[in-house]
């Protein structure tokens, strides 16, 4: 497992550039951090309607509409979210998880966990 060391850190411009380069590479190789995944409920739609996250990641559903919504799938349920309420759901296993708002059934979405 690669570990970040502190060798040379703080010793000047060149070291800072190498550290930034290493961090940039790490960001490129690793999947996006799960806590950044957000699905908005707005104008009676899920946005984005389809989202891909790494295994073990989370999706935060946030309701920006006036009316209550849910994100309800076979394996998860946010429960009722009123205006400006949010709920974080963890996805520990890989797979494709379709869901809908149980109040407004035309509202559908999908979480892809890889």
């Amino acid at each position: 497992m690669t570990q970040v060391t502190t060798r040379g850190a703080g010793s000047g411009w060149w070291s800072r550039r190498r550290i930034l380069g290493a961090l940039s590479l790490a960001a490129f190789v690793r999947p996006a951090r799960a806590e950044g995944a957000t699905v908005e409920m707005q104008q009676l739609k899920f946005a984005p309607a389809e989202i891909e996250i790494p295994m073990g990641g989370t999706v935060t559903f946030v309701n920006l509409d006036l009316v209550p919504h849910t994100a309800t799938g076979e394996d998860f349920d946010t429960g009722t979210l009123r205006k400006e309420e949010r709920k974080e759901i963890a996805f520990p296993a890989a797979g494709e998880f379709t869901y809908l708002c149980k109040f407004h059934r035309h509202m559908t979405g999908r979480v892809i966990v890889r």
Partner: protein, 179 residues
């Protein structure tokens, strides 16, 4: 033309008459912001009362689910409207348009309360479709273009998104309960 369709058209005509009467008394495009807020609230409250009537008289799961949705959504929109008015320290103003809406609703309820079973379900579904079509037309073409307060305009826009979804849903219910 079937009796069911005639009944639906009669209900739609009753509702339209309410709007037409109000248009004579007070053009919805000429209401001020506080009158628009009042009329929008009354329109939502009427549909909540329509839904309570449906929950009292219908055994159809689809009709009842739709009615519960109308109560949940219109209550949320009306609560948001009241919160905005409270924030603005404003009082909604009663007006001839709101009164015509209520008059039309009372006429509709007087007819619907005499129905039961499938006849009620068909009438309720037809009324919900025509009501949302008419309200959406008024909100989209008269209220939103003319309202001056930016926050009220935004709220009406968001509400209209919801009401358009209701209209589509009502059209599905009309098909499902038959004509």
């Amino acid at each position: 033309m079937s009796r069911n369709l005639l009944a639906g058209l009669a209900l739609a005509a009753t509702l339209a008459a309410g709007f037409a009467g109000s248009a004579t008394a007070q053009d919805p495009a000429k209401l001020n912001d506080l009158e628009i807020a009042h009329a929008a609230y009354v329109a939502g409250d009427i549909d909540i009362r329509n839904a309570h009537l449906a929950l009292a008289l219908s055994d159809d799961p689809k009709v009842r689910e739709f009615a519960e949705l109308m109560i949940r959504d219109h209550e949320a929109v009306n609560q948001a409207a009241l919160a905005l008015l409270h924030k603005l320290k404003a009082e909604p103003q009663d007006n001839a348009f709101s009164q015509a809406l209520l008059k039309g609703a009372h006429d509709t309820w007087a007819k619907m309360v005499k129905l039961s079973g499938h006849e009620f379900d068909k009438s309720y579904a037809a009324n919900e479709l025509s009501y949302h079509q008419t309200v959406n037309h008024v909100v989209g073409d008269a209220f939103i273009p003319n309202v001056e307060n930016a926050e009220l305009k935004t709220l009406l826009g968001s509400a209209l998104d919801t009401f358009k979804a209701h209209e589509l849903h009502a059209a599905e219910i009309v098909k499902e309960v038959g004509s």
